[in-house]
């Protein structure tokens, strides 16, 4: 495989990662990485985190006209 293909693959990978971040698909992974730095607290499960996250997100203006 030549460099242009690798570059294309890299671009696609970045796009995919960005899309996951944008949509919230990778939010739990981000949270776990952050929770690892604070081992004194037990991290939430994926389902707990999902619900908690939504409750916070939709309690302030997050969609505009």
């Amino acid at each position: 495989m030549g460099t242009p293909w690798l570059r294309l693959l890299g671009a696609f990978h970045n796009f995919w990662r960005g899309l996951r971040q944008w949509s919230g698909d990778s939010a739990y992974e981000t949270y776990l990485a952050c929770a690892e730095r604070r081992p004194e607290q037990k991290p939430l499960s994926a389902a707990e985190f999902y619900v908690e996250q939504l409750n916070r997100k939709y309690s302030r203006p997050n969609r505009c006209c």
């Binding site: 960005g18 971040q21 698909d25 739990y28 949270y31 302030r60 203006p61 997050n62 505009c64």
Partner: protein
């Protein structure tokens, strides 16, 4: 040579933009191609971004990339999450872009394409983007504080309360008016009603999937959801063709209004994961897809713009809404040029996720430019249809008549030729019973979009599918604004109520949740109902009210921004926020005054109420309509009071701020800036 090349390129971009703007401004006679609009907008935005936003970033705000942002200092994996600049741009854009930039320009097209297009471009570059950018900056420097908190800390306690009340009021008006747009798009349309109704079970399904089966797997769930939504768009045709089902889903305005009110209450009181969040995911994906395809469609089809640059309605006698270009064009197009609501997104969510102060320019200024571009595309889509058709769709029956023949005669009489057969043929082609009197912007935009899409893919045969796709897309994300807004309104009421009576403030106390949900839904539901039964179609009175309140909120944001900048000692550059603020105060005050006091009964709430009252006294109202007329009179007076309250709020805030500014400038007291102290970033340069 290396330094010369960028200068040459930017000069070329500026020259091209100038030529394109000149072409759309001075073009007379033959129709003009939409490509000129795209060029004029794109080049203006590029130049504004390259020069004006760079100037603001460097001189006014002095963005500092060595300063750690809240996301770096308080990184908690929840609210404070350092986010890639492009991802955050997408996030911020998805939050600020709603139905506003699609509906406003469509309505303002009654003046012709020129006033709205120029205001969209100039308003965004000099006011809207500046507001979003500066408020984002102020909030970053204050750990992501909200606009209300900044108003309280930097202007005065009363200023904070006013900002909070202003937000609640505009929320109520906003929710009512967007709900009215949905009602006007769905009434007597079994296809559209079925499609939108089906998005509710789809959302519930996704909600359960994301909560219990695959927690947080948003992408795969959204993919399933989008496929299902596209399926129900097509399935709507079978419903419309089936005599029995078509009857079930053919609903009148009042029934639809109550259905939407019930939906809003459910979305506010039910757990957020069940209905609200999954619906929001669906709408985000469909919104991104539809906006992208509209841009691609316009570039591929390059339609002719059939609307003249200026219509005869610049004199204020327009059928869609009454009033002259000044101030009503600037009120009608709020989102797309400047929207106060954006300041709530710029303070609150986005500042907690930004990696570097320097990114604020791209995200704050840049995302608003893109929203303005969406507004220009909506303007193109609305102006690409025959003016006669545009007026037939958007004018209320009380002005043009209720039958195709009557509407065609009235509109042709205005000088926009239209035959009754065109309207019935078009309604048939898009799979509707009628397209007449559907004020609100959504149906005419959908016709415009469907015509553009179908000339790329599918031709006439797919026109009806494209039309219902466009209606579904608009209605879907209007409902998302509606349920998210209702929920936030409920929290605001609970918070305000909690100050008076403690238990009210507890977000998990069921009676409090139900009571505050009922209050907020009742408030916007009342205005929605009033709009649905309004003989003039409702949009005529509610949309200007919404525009005024949205622009007032922008004025609040710019007052806060100006105060902060003065305290930072930026007197020399203060015109950057002061001039747009002054402009907004002028247009909102003029519009409020005219809406309340104008002697023209089509503009002034009070004079219209007086006309009705004198008809009652003179006995000219049929006995069956007396109760309705009493209610209409009450509603008009209520609208006048709401407008006055909004205007007084901004005046009080302005006086508070002026006192502050005077104290700062006369050095009576040392300015106290509530900024978080400087902390150096630990991230390497270029992160």
């Amino acid at each position: 040579m290396k330094r010369l090349l960028p200068i040459l390129i930017w000069t070329a971009v500026a020259a091209l933009g100038g030529v394109a703007l000149g072409t759309i401004a001075f073009h007379r006679g033959e129709h003009i191609n939409a490509t000129w609009f795209v060029l004029a907008a794109a080049c203006s935005y590029l130049v504004a971004y390259r020069l004006y936003s760079a100037f603001i970033a460097a001189k006014l705000l002095a963005l500092d990339n060595t300063r750690a942002t809240p996301a770096e200092r308080r990184d908690d994996g929840r609210d404070f999450v350092p986010t890639n600049k492009w991802v955050l741009f997408g996030h911020h854009f998805a939050a600020i872009a709603g139905p506003g930039p699609l509906v406003g320009p469509t309505l303002a097209a009654q003046f012709g394409y020129l006033p709205g297009t120029l205001w969209l471009i100039a308003g965004a570059a000099f006011a809207g983007c500046v507001q979003d950018f500066v408020i984002l900056f102020c909030s970053i420097r204050r750990d992501g504080k909200t606009l209300g908190e900044m108003a309280r800390d930097e202007v005065s306690k009363r200023g904070g309360l006013i900002a909070q009340l202003a937000v609640l009021t505009i929320m109520i008006i906003l929710l009512a008016v967007v709900a009215l747009v949905v009602v006007n798009a769905l009434k007597s349309s079994p296809w559209a009603t079925f499609t939108l109704a089906m998005t509710i079970p789809i959302a519930l399904l996704l909600g359960v999937y994301l909560r219990y089966f695959r927690p947080g797997r948003v992408l795969e769930a959204s993919l399933i959801g989008v496929a299902l939504v596209l399926f129900v768009v097509v399935a709507g045709q079978w419903v419309a063709d089936s005599p029995y089902l078509a009857k079930v889903f053919t609903l009148g305005g009042v029934t639809l209004a109550f259905a939407i009110i019930a939906y809003g209450f459910a979305a506010s009181a039910l757990p957020v994961w069940l209905l609200l969040a999954p619906r929001d995911y669906l709408s985000a994906f469909i919104k991104a897809g539809a906006i992208f395809s509209l841009a691609a469609g316009i570039l591929l089809v390059r339609p002719q713009v059939l609307m003249p640059p200026l219509t005869r309605f610049v004199d204020g006698s327009g059928p869609v809404f009454a009033g002259k270009i000044f101030p009503f064009c600037f009120i009608t197009i709020a989102c797309g040029a400047i929207s106060g609501f954006h300041s709530l997104i710029s303070s609150g969510t986005t500042p907690k996720m930004i990696q570097r102060e320097g990114h604020a320019r791209f995200i704050g200024y840049g995302a608003m430019l893109l929203e303005s571009f969406v507004g220009v595309m909506a303007m193109v889509a609305a102006c690409a249809m025959t003016p006669g058709v545009y007026f037939a769709i958007n004018s209320p029956a009380s002005i043009v008549g209720a039958t195709p023949e009557a509407a065609a005669a009235t509109i042709s009489g205005w000088g926009y030729p239209l035959s009754a057969r065109t309207m019935t043929g078009l309604a048939h082609a898009v799979g509707e019973q009628t397209l007449l009197n559907r004020a609100g912007g959504a149906p005419s935009l959908a016709v415009g979009m469907a015509q553009i899409f179908s000339s790329t893919i599918g031709g006439e045969r797919l026109l009806s599918i494209w039309y219902h796709f466009a209606i579904m897309f608009e209605a879907l994300f209007i409902l998302t604004v509606l349920d998210a807004g209702t929920r936030v309104g409920r929290f605001m009421i609970q918070e305000l109520g909690g100050r008076v009576w403690k238990p009210m403030g507890r977000m998990d106390w069921m009676p409090g949740v139900l009571l505050s949900s009922a209050l907020i839904v009742g408030a916007w539901g009342y205005f929605l109902y009033q709009g649905v039964v309004d003989p003039l179609g409702g949009i005529n009175s509610l949309w200007p009210l919404f525009g005024i309140s949205n622009q007032l909120l922008a004025a609040v944001a710019l007052v806060v921004a100006t105060t902060i900048l003065l305290k930072m000692g930026k007197l020399k550059w203060i015109w950057v926020t002061l001039l747009p603020m002054a402009w907004l105060v002028i247009i909102t005050m003029t519009a409020s005054y005219q809406k309340i006091f104008s002697a023209n009964a089509r503009i002034g709430f009070l004079s219209q109420a007086n006309v009705m009252a004198s008809q009652l006294v003179a006995g000219k109202v049929a006995a069956a309509k007396i109760a309705d007329t009493h209610r209409n009179i009450f509603n008009l007076r209520l609208d006048a009071v709401v407008t006055a309250v909004l205007a007084v709020m901004i005046l009080v805030l302005l006086v508070e701020a002026l006192a502050q500014w005077y104290a700062i400038l006369s050095r009576d007291k040392a300015p106290v800036l509530e900024e978080t102290p400087y902390v150096a970033t630990e991230w390497a340069e270029g992160d």
